[in-house]
Each structure stands twice: as structure tokens, then as C-alpha cells.
């Protein structure tokens, strides 16, 4: 079939080129769209603004029916968006006419930014004060001081107001914070744009005043920008390094160009489709280029290496024959590897988390595109280009060394497996030290501006991150009930005692502050009023002024719901979720009946999203592993073999995760992706190894020889792809950004361990359990007369399959010798196809055909072979040794008895026939 396909391709080369070019052009336009370009001719300006945009919104990472997401959406619907951007300005003294004017000017400029809903600062927050029969509630911005004496008076007033101190201004009056709250619809690229403008505006307005930026979204965007920046900087270097390695391997332009062009085309096709589909990438999708690069290089090297090997070994006369042979040799294994990867990645779509679904769908699509290119572009290019052997000498000598080593591992399987499992177990023990948590701040260096900003704002001000408790009073007007206010007040007190909490803000603070103001600013009245009428009228008072929506974000229009804002330190997700749990327990335990509180909020959702991403990735990886196992099971027709085939895939991942545990590297959003990429690479190698082994074992009865051939043949492509990828990704270690650096490091480690498992563990595993795949059983072409075979007499087809699975298939070419007189033998051979001739002293004794057995003595006793047996034509036999018989006895004792009974019958008949002859 592969040969026919190559011949078809050769006849349609022009069409193939046209179709590939057309798809690439269309997808190229899609990539342009994805980067934000329009379909007009590009200009220098439009090129400058091209940028891959990442949608960081939390709702991408939680299922639509997630109760936390629904609670957050309801909170946003009632109170508006609780997200904010924070800037900290450092002065000698905030309270000078110039500095207050600067803050006021900056706030006015920020309030005009598209997407900014509300700006709060020391100058832009109502400052309540009272005297006898007088009440003031204006923002400082409306009456900016003109003299230092006025500024000093404002300083005294502000620093005595708990709403301002350690929130908008530091207690020492040196730091001022500006908070910009956003509209709910401002997400993804719009938020990205707002953050950029926020920074630019403040840097322009602040002039020489040092400004630091913090906040959840600034941190998230910084994180993704740093990742994209580093990927953008280092992935091309990775590609160049890979090109150099390929050049060293192949010493030819096509050896370098074809894998790289395949890689580029698969990236263009995949991202082009995303561009046309209008899909926004999520932070998880950032790994896609790396994944596609890996797959493209691995797949294309399998074909190209086989092409060169065919040219060196078979010496075909023309390029079509060469391509046919290479395709025949590699396409089936490639197809199985790609099919497994597609099923594995597509299995990620079986989730209700939109981001994981998208990642699974795009990965599967990318793998399909890579596969299409491997089956079309690569052979077409080889058919177009002149047939030219590699200028470099084949790596026969060192591949021979590796092959011999692999043979050794096959023979010394017990010791090899003990060592391999031992090493894996020791490395995997590190799993116990592995921490699964997400703390995005640790991605930045401790002296980075963003870490400094968080530190300053936590030390001096009210924190840059917040969670909320949404209070539901169960009826309109409940928020005017003094009992409700006291419950909220008690929660605030409890929250402020928790270590991650910096400050709490609620409408209760406003009510208490106004109560104090209407009582002549007497501190004794900074309490919750006794009656609901007082509370109602104070809440009305809060709405008077230039900022009527001042407390809309804290209490709703019906006075049924309230919101407590809890500012927290930039702690890891686990600690924050623990705090949320404590708060929820406190609410459930202490609040009066009918009053409910729900923990939600921007940072809480980010932590939930991070946790969901992590869970999704781990679950996705496990799901992929299960799917891969099922595919293996189906392919090899036995769950045990499927499981054994999984071992070399899972071992590198366990080892890498264990190493991460030893080195104190946490499993987080970035590092969790390693498992999927590592599985992809290991899986490809394993499938190639197994399929080529099965092919070899058919023509070489001895597993040792088959192992030698596999390692010497397909092993070369495996080494090439592992080396190219390892050296390429090692470049990422040079990154200054920790997640990228760790990714590079552990990719390198994954490649090394995958190589170890392929060439050490795999031969030993095969030695331990010979593999007979279900397609070999199909190849046997069981016919209706199968039960007529004397060895399988009175056995059902299912029983026969079991027996066949315990043995191994051998396909002998014509005239090949199956047994030699005098040599030791421990196997019985059942002729399934073809025929053999038995010779004693070179005299033909008999000819045996389908269904007949030979070598029974070897199975029953350790007797040397009594005659020569050779194949008359291409012959398939089932070799059934003593070990297989033992295994059959262990697992299917009744079947073993039946087999031995049949064997006795055959031997007695043969004995009877011999006796008859002797008469």
C-alpha cells in the first residue's frame, strides 16, 4: 500500500505542490490574523504592532458550571469587576502641594483610559470629616492644597483615617498607591492594552518619581510576556541549533532543510487555522510551538533517516524505489505513533475546562497536520530532489556498538531490568518530595521590579491582590440591619488575624466612618449604629458627592448583598485556598441564620484557575496515558503487552518528576506540561521500536538478532531525533526566565532518560516478554480449518489465540534453515503458512505443511535436534518454547493440558506411523 501511495504521489507531484502551497498561503494569512494583522498590505507600523495575544481570563480554566465561577460571575454582576491594577509612587513626602497635584493629575489621566472604570488614590477617595453641625465628604482632588500648611493639614486628616492608611498611603506618608478598577468586559487583549497604557500613562505623569507596578493581572501579563519573549528569543536559536545538529548528522542540505521546513509548515498550518477560527490562545497553548517542533522533528527524522538507510543498504536504482522502500519501512510505525498521539491529545478534549479542551483540540490538530506533511511534503520533496547519498559515512560502527550493547541487555534481561527499574525507582522516590503548588511570583527574580512592587505594597500599603466574601442577607434591606453589619465586622476582625491578610475593606467601614463624621468626628462613634434607620441614612449620605458609585462595589442597590474585600499577600495558591477555606468555615460557623457568605474574588479565582489548570494537566496526562495504554492493548492484542509497552513511556516521566522533587522544583502550570511533551517523544520511540522488532522477529527467529537489527536500523533515527531535540532544547537553559529555563533543563533530562529507556530497558523488556501483536495473528490468516490443526484440536479460536500469543511468530524466507541437526533446541514449531522439508544426513525424510508440527522433542525434553529442517518457500511458523509452555500452565492450566494432550496424540500417531514403517 505504501509503495502504491508513493507511486501515486510521484504521478501527482505538481498537484501536491500546488495544494501544499495553497494551504500554506491560506494558513499564513491566518497566522497574520492571529498576530493581530489585518488583511491589508502590511506597513512598517502594522508589522511593529504584530503580537501574539494570550487570553488570561480565569473563565478559560474553569468549567462553566463550576460553582465558584458562577458565584464569581454573580458577584461581578452585582458589584461590578473587583479586579484592579496598582501602582506605587515613592516620594519623600506624599503631602506636598506638588505631589498631591501630581497624583491627582495622574488619576485624571488614568480615568480616561479605555477599560478603566474607577480610579482610587489618596486624592481620589472621599475623605469624611465632621465638626459641630458640619460634614465634609470631598475628595482631596477637588480642593488641592496650594500651600504646604494646607497640605500638612490634609496629611493629619488622612493619616488619622483608617480607610486611607496602609491602603492608599503608607503610615509614614512616603508611599502612595493608585488603584485602577476595570470594567468586567475588559479581558484578554483589551486588558493587556489597558495594562500597557496604565504603565505608560503613569510613567509619563510621574516623571522622575519612582513608580512600581503590581496586581494580579500585571503579574499574569508579565509572566506571559516574559514567557513569550523568551520563547520568541530562544526558539529560533533552538531551531538553528537543531539545524546545526542535523547538518552534522546528515551533511546535506535536505537533511537539514526538510525537517525544518516540515516543522515550519506544521506551525504555520496549525496557527493559521487558529487565526481563521478567531481562537484566542490561552497560557497553556504557549507550549504548542515546542510540542509541534518536537513532533515534526521526530516524525520527519524517522522518514529521512530511513530514506538514507535504504539508499545505503538496499541501493535502489531510482528515487521512486528508494522512497517506496523508506515509506514501506517507516509509514506504518509512523501512522501508529501519530494515531496514538492524536488519540492521546484528543482525549484531553474530554473535559469541561475550556482551556484544556482547546489545548487538546489544537494539539490533535497540530499532530494531524504534522502527519499530513510527513506523508505528503517529505516524500514529495524526496521525489523531486535528485537521489544523492549522504556525504557522511554511515554511523555503522557506533550504531553497531549500541546494537551489541542492546543485545547484551536483551540477554541479561533480569540484571538489566533490575538496574533499570532500580534507577527509575530511586529517581521516582523523589516524587514524595515533589510539591504541587503554584506561586507565580517565584517565576521572577527576587530583585525584579514586580517582586519589589509586591514587597513594597505589602510592607507599606494595603496589598495588590484581593479576594472577596459576598454576603447574602436573604432579603432586600438586610444590609441595613445592625446585626448583619456586626457579623461582617467580626469576619473582618477574624480575617485580619490571618497571616496572609493585609487589610479588609467593606461598606461597614464606610458606615462607621460616616457615623463618626456625623457625630462631630468623635472616635467613640466609629462603631456600627444601633438602628437600621441610622444605617440607611448614612448609606444615603455616602452616595452624595462627586463619586456616587463610591460604595456600589461594596453594597448592592437592594441592600441584600454586601461585599467584603480582603487584601492579601502574594502567597502561593495552596495557602490562599486554605485561607479561603478558613474564612468560609468561620462564616458557616459563626454567622446568624439567614446570613450567608461565599468566598470569591479575582485572586481567589486566579488561584482556583491555577489549581484547575494543574489538576487538568495532571488529569489530562493520566487520561492520555490511559488512552495510549488502550491503543497499545488493541494494537498488541494483550493487556500485559500493552502495559509492558507503556513502561518505557512512563519511566522517563516518573524519573523526571522524581528529579524535580529531589531538586525542589515544584509542579506548577509551567512544569506540568513537561509530562505531556516527554510522553509524546517517548511514545514515538517505543512504537517504532516495537513495530520494527515484530517485523524483524518474523524473519529472524532469534530475538537477540532482531534487537540488533532494530537498534541498528530504526534506532539510528531515534538517536538522531533525541540528540537534535535535546541539544536544541538545551538552549532554553540559557534563558533568564526561570520557567523557560526549567523547561529546557527537564526536556534535556527527559531526552536522556528516554534514550536510556529505549536502548536499555526496552530490549530487556522484550527479552522478558516476547511480543506477538494482533496483526501478526491476522497475518496468520486463521481460516475455518484452524481447528483442524492437530495441535489445536478441540480448542476454540479464542483458546488458539491465547496459545499463539504465548509463542512467537517467525517468518522464514525460502531455503532458510529452521533447525540444524545436533544443535540444542527448546522450541516446537507449528507451520502456519508455507512448508518445510525435514532432512536426515541430507536425505529428505519428509515434507511438512500447514498445521503440522516439528521439533516436539525440543519442547518436551532438552534433546538435541534430530534432523535438519529448512523452509521450502517463505514460511510462517509459530515457535512455542518451554518458557511459553510454563507461562501457559501458570495462566491457563486447562489449556496447557489440552495442548500437551494434543501433542501426545501427535507424537503417538507419529510413533505408530514409524512403527508401521519399521514393519
Amino acid at each position: 500500500m505504501s509503495r502504491a501511495y508513493i507511486r501515486f504521489l510521484d504521478r501527482r507531484l505538481v498537484w501536491v505542490a500546488l495544494v501544499l502551497t495553497l494551504i500554506t498561503l491560506v494558513c499564513g494569512a491566518g497566522v497574520w490574523k492571529l498576530l493581530g494583522g489585518d488583511l491589508l498590505p502590511p506597513t512598517a507600523d502594522s508589522l511593529r504592532h504584530l503580537k501574539l495575544r494570550i487570553d488570561t481570563s480565569d473563565r478559560q480554566f474553569l468549567a462553566a458550571h463550576d460553582p465558584d465561577l458562577q458565584a464569581y460571575q454573580e458577584s461581578t454582576r452585582i458589584f461590578g469587576d473587583d479586579r484592579f491594577l496598582v501602582a506605587v509612587l515613592e516620594f519623600d513626602n506624599v503631602f506636598t502641594p506638588d505631589h498631591l497635584a501630581l497624583i491627582s493629575r495622574a488619576c485624571s489621566a488614568l480615568s480616561r483610559l479605555p477599560g478603566a472604570k474607577r480610579v482610587t488614590s489618596v486624592t481620589h477617595e472621599p475623605l469624611y470629616s465632621g465638626a459641630a453641625q458640619s460634614l465634609a465628604n470631598a475628595q482631596i482632588a477637588t480642593r488641592l492644597p496650594k500651600t504646604q500648611a494646607e497640605a500638612d493639614r490634609i496629611r493629619d486628616q488622612v493619616l488619622s483615617d483608617s480607610t486611607f492608611v496602609r491602603n492608599l498611603v503608607s503610615a509614614d506618608g512616603r508611599y502612595a498607591a493608585i488603584y485602577v478598577r476595570t470594567w468586567p468586559h475588559v479581558r484578554g487583549p483589551e486588558l493587556d492594552f489597558l495594562v500597557r497604557r496604565f504603565k505608560q500613562t503613569l510613567q509619563r505623569e510621574a516623571r522622575n518619581v519612582p513608580v512600581l507596578f503590581a496586581g494580579n493581572h500585571i503579574q499574569t501579563i508579565e509572566l506571559h510576556e516574559a514567557t513569550l519573549r523568551e520563547m520568541k528569543r530562544l526558539l529560533p536559536v533552538t531551531a538553528v541549533i537543531m539545524a546545526i545538529v542535523l547538518a552534522l548528522i546528515f551533511h546535506s542540505w535536505r537533511g537539514v532543510g526538510l525537517p525544518l521546513v516540515t516543522m515550519a509548515l506544521s506551525l504555520i498550518w496549525t496557527f493559521g487555522v487558529l487565526g481563521w477560527a478567531g481562537v484566542s490562545l490561552t497560557p497553556i497553548d504557549v507550549i504548542l510551538p515546542t510540542l509541534l517542533m518536537t513532533l515534526s522533528i521526530t516524525y520527519s527524522l524517522q522518514f529521512i533517516t530511513r530514506y538514507y538507510q535504504v539508499m545505503e543498504e538496499a541501493r535502489p536504482t531510482d528515487k521512486v524505489s528508494c522512497c517506496e522502500l523508506a515509506a514501506e519501512d517507516s509509514f506504518f510505525a509512523l501512522f501508529i505513533a501519530q494515531f496514538t498521539t492524536i488519540i492521546g491529545t484528543a482525549s484531553l478534549c474530554w473535559t469541561d475546562i475550556p482551556a484544556i479542551f482547546q489545548f487538546g483540540a489544537i494539539s490533535a490538530l497540530g499532530t494531524v497536520f504534522t502527519a499530513v506533511l510527513v506523508y505528503t511534503f517529505l516524500p514529495a520533496a524526496q521525489l523531486v530532489l535528485p537521489m544523492r547519498p549522504r556525504r557522511r559515512r554511515p554511523e555503522t560502527s557506533w550504531m553497531e556498538r549500541i546494537s551489541r550493547r542492546a543485545q547484551g541487555f536483551y540477554l541479561r534481561k533480569e540484571m538489566t531490568l533490575s538496574v533499570a527499574f532500580g534507577v527509575t525507582a530511586v529517581l521516582a522516590l523523589g516524587l514524595f518530595a515533589l510539591k504541587v503548588e503554584n506561586d507565580p511570583k517565584t517565576f521572577f527574580k527576587s530583585d525584579s521590579p514586580i517582586r519589589q512592587a509586591f514587597q513594597t505594597i505589602e510592607d507599606k500599603l494595603g496589598g495588590a491582590l484581593s479576594i472577596s466574601v459576598v454576603v447574602d442577607g436573604g432579603r432586600p434591606g438586610a444590609m441595613k440591619d445592625p446585626e448583619t453589619l456586626r457579623a461582617i465586622e467580626s469576619l473582618q476582625t477574624f480575617a485580619e488575624q490571618q497571616s496572609p491578610v493585609l487589610k479588609t475593606i467593606s461598606f461597614v467601614d464606610t458606615v462607621k466612618r460616616l457615623n463618626r463624621a456625623v457625630h462631630g468626628d468623635s472616635a467613640a462613634f466609629e462603631t456600627v449604629p444601633e438602628s437600621s434607620d441610622e444605617i440607611s441614612q448614612l448609606l444615603l449620605l455616602a452616595a452624595i458627592g462627586d463619586d456616587p458609585a463610591n460604595i456600589d462595589r461594596l453594597v448592592d442597590y437592594d441592600y441584600q448583598h454586601g461585599r467584603l474585600e480582603i487584601r492579601v499577600k502574594n502567597v502561593d495558591s495552596k495557602s490562599l485556598l486554605a485561607l479561603a477555606s478558613d474564612l468560609q468555615s468561620h462564616v458557616d460557623r459563626t454567622w446568624p441564620r439567614g446570613l450567608h457568605g461565599t468566598v470569591t474574588g479575582d485572586h481567589y479565582m486566579t488561584c482556583r484557575a491555577n489549581s484547575a489548570i494543574l489538576t487538568g494537566q495532571v488529569r489530562g496526562f493520566l487520561g492520555t496515558a490511559i488512552v495510549v495504554f488502550l491503543v497499545m492493548w488493541i494494537c498488541f492484542g494483550s493487556p500485559q503487552i500493552g502495559l509492558i509497552a507503556m513502561i518505557p513511556n512512563v519511566a522517563p516521566i516518573l524519573s523526571v518528576l522524581g528529579l524535580m522533587g529531589y531538586f525542589g522544583v515544584r509542579i506548577d502550570v509551567g512544569t506540568a506540561l513537561l509530562a505531556s511533551v516527554a510522553l509524546g517523544i517517548a511514545l514515538d520511540d517505543t512504537i517504532h521500536f516495537i513495530i520494527h522488532y515484530i517485523r524483524n522477529i518474523q524473519s529472524h527467529p532469534h530475538g537477540r538478532r532482531a534487537i540488533h537489527n532494530v537498534v541498528g536500523g530504526v534506532g539510528r533515527a531515534m538517536v538522531f531525533s533525541n540528540v537534535a531535540l535535546a541539544v536544541g532544547f538545551a538552549v532554553l537553559i540559557l534563558s533568564t526566565f526561570q520557567p523557560v529555563r526549567l523547561f529546557g533543563l527537564f526536556m534535556l533530562v527527559s531526552m536522556i532518560i528516554a534514550c536510556f529507556d529505549d536502548f536499555v530497558m526496552m530490549p530487556a523488556l522484550i527479552g522478558w516478554m516476547p511480543m506477538v501483536g494482533v496483526w501478526e495473528q491476522w497475518r496468520i490468516k486463521f481460516k475455518s480449518d484452524v481447528t483442524q490443526i492437530p495441535l489445536f484440536a478441540r480448542m476454540s479460536p479464542a483458546d488458539i489465540k491465547k496459545v499463539v500469543s504465548m509463542g512467537r511468530m517467525l517468518t522464514l524466507p525460502a531455503n532458510a534453515r529452521l533447525m540444524e541437526e545436533g544443535e540444542p533446541g527448546a522450541e516446537l514449531f507449528l507451520i502456519l503458512e508455507g512448508s518445510v522439508t525435514v532432512r536426515k544426513n541430507k536425505v529428505v525424510v519428509t515434507m511438512l505443511g500447514r498445521g503440522e508440527t516439528v521439533g516436539e522433542m525440543g519442547l518436551i525434553s532438552d534433546h538435541p535436534r534430530s534432523a535438519d529442517v529448512s523452509a521450502d518457500k517463505e514460511t510462517t511458523v509459530l515457535a512455542f518454547g518451554y518458557e511459553a509452555l510454563e507461562r501457559l500452565e501458570r495462566r491457563y492450566p486447562r489449556l496447557a493440558v489440552r495442548l500437551l494432550h494434543n501433542l501426545s496424540t501427535i507424537l503417538s500417531r507419529r510413533l505408530a506411523a514409524t512403527t508401521e514403517l519399521l514393519k
Binding site: 480616561r112 465632621g130 458640619s134 460634614l135 470631598a138 441614612q537 452616595a543 452624595i544 448592592d556
Partner: protein, 267 residues
């Protein structure tokens, strides 16, 4: 061809006529029209009861019933307003009085019955929102016409009425810091001397508020009044709908009525 020529000449004549009208309105007619509107909208005093519905962008509403009293002080063109909550019950009796000062400021006193003492609101400004609605105190204030520039913009049909669109720009220096808008676009019904619509624009040209009046009638057979007024602030965004009832004009309210001493007595 001949028909085309006639149509072309007709259009030319029409455009010249419109242009001539516009030129006339540019100068004295606009001022005269605004004087008529001012006389219609701001009598000596006025009492009415207003139902307000404040609509939050999340769809939630607050409903208030307020009795409002207005007096114009002709000597300086300014005036005073007194707003007293009738409903809901927990706000009943809450009263705010705002007295405009000749210098452009306004003095405000608030009486919260639960605290039993009128409070002087020291930082109050005309541009402040009234109890969180979309109304500001400047919406209640008659303007001194000389302090503004009125420019004809166009004529059009608005809400099935012939309307003259006028751009109103504050010119007096004292107004620069006291009014929030940089200019207003007013749709004036020249037959009834009332506003049909007003759009408010800030200094960067963003429309931050729009008001529409509807369901007009003459409570005293002289002055035209709207039964329904709708405010919309697109930048907040927020809506306020007013239903005005029981309008009484020129009832001879004394000036003392608008003093802080009266806040505790008024029923």
C-alpha cells in the same frame, strides 16, 4: 433634464432659505429663545412630587418618592431647592436644602432624622450627584444667560416635534471649575419653550449624560412641564427615571422656607 434643473434650483433656493434662517438664529433669535425657555422653566417658585427610579447597570433599582421645592431669586438669577424624602420609610423626613450663592457656590444642609441634627455639607458642589442619582445640583439651577454662549447648530425633528439644536457653552470664569460639562447640546422646542433633550459633554468631548423630557402638559395653562424625565449617564453607566406629579407653580414660598432652621420643622 428640465425636471432635473427645476429640482436643482428648488434645492438651491431651499438651502439658501435654511441658511438665512440659521444666520438669523445664530444671533438674536437663539438668545431670545433661551430667554423664553428660562422664563418657562424657572418660575418664582415651584412644588412638585417626584418618583425616582434609579437603575443600576446590573438591573437593580432603587425607588424613592421625593417632594421638591424650588425658588428662584430674581435679584441674582439664582435660587434654592429643598428635597424631602417621602418614601422609603427609613429615609422618610431626610431633607436636603441647597441654596445657590451669587458667587457661584451653593450652600447645602442635610437633615438626617435618625441623627436629629442638620449638618452643613462643607464640600458640596453644584456638580455633585444628588443622592447617587444622575441628577446634579446644577440641573436644578437656573442659569444667568449672560454667563453662557449659545450657538445655533441645526434644526431637526426630535420626538415628533420641531426642535432647534443649540450648543450651550459656559463662558463666565467662575463657572469653569463649578460646572462639570464643557458644553451642552440642547434640543429646544420653540413652540413650547421647553427642552426636549440635553446632552452633556466633558472637556475631552465625551458625552457623559443625556436627558430627555416627555409627556408635556401645562399645569397652570401657562408653563409647559414634562411628566416624565429620563437621565442616562453612559460612562457610569446609570439611569434615573423621573415621574413628576402634583406640580404647583408660583405659590409664594417664603425665602425662610429654604433655611436650615426649617429643616427640622418641615412636614
Amino acid at each position: 433634464m428640465r425636471t432635473f434643473g427645476i429640482v436643482w434650483i428648488f434645492c438651491l433656493v431651499l438651502s439658501c432659505a435654511v441658511r438665512a434662517t440659521a444666520d438669523a438664529l445664530d444671533t438674536t433669535a437663539v438668545r431670545a429663545l433661551m430667554e423664553k425657555v428660562d422664563r418657562n422653566l424657572y418660575p418664582d417658585d415651584e412644588i412638585d412630587e417626584v418618583s425616582l427610579i434609579l437603575i443600576h447597570p446590573n438591573g437593580q433599582q432603587r425607588q424613592w418618592r421625593i417632594r421638591q421645592y424650588y425658588q428662584r431669586a430674581y435679584e441674582n438669577g439664582m435660587g434654592a431647592i429643598l428635597l424631602r424624602f417621602v418614601d422609603p420609610t427609613d429615609l422618610h423626613g431626610t431633607t436636603l436644602v441647597s441654596v445657590n450663592q451669587p458667587g457661584g457656590e451653593n450652600n447645602q444642609w442635610l437633615y438626617l432624622p435618625a441623627f436629629r441634627m442638620p449638618q452643613f455639607l462643607a464640600d458640596s458642589r453644584k456638580s455633585d450627584y444628588v443622592f447617587g442619582s444622575d441628577l446634579t445640583f446644577e440641573d436644578f439651577t437656573p442659569c444667568i444667560l449672560d454667563e453662557y454662549d449659545y450657538a445655533f447648530v441645526r434644526e431637526e425633528i426630535f420626538a415628533e416635534r420641531h426642535a432647534i439644536v443649540i450648543r450651550k457653552t459656559p463662558t463666565a470664569p467662575k463657572l469653569q471649575s463649578r460646572v462639570k460639562y464643557a458644553y451642552q447640546m440642547l434640543w429646544v422646542d420653540p413652540d413650547r419653550n421647553i427642552f426636549l433633550r440635553a446632552d452633556f459633554f466633558d472637556s475631552i468631548g465625551q458625552m457623559y449624560k443625556t436627558v430627555t423630557w416627555g409627556d408635556f402638559y401645562q399645569p397652570d395653562r401657562i408653563h409647559w412641564r414634562a411628566r416624565r424625565v429620563a437621565f442616562f449617564s453612559p460612562l457610569r453607566p446609570h439611569w434615573t427615571q423621573l415621574s413628576v406629579e402634583d406640580i404647583q407653580l408660583n405659590r409664594g414660598l417664603p425665602a425662610e422656607f429654604f433655611s436650615e432652621r426649617n429643616l427640622t420643622n418641615i412636614r
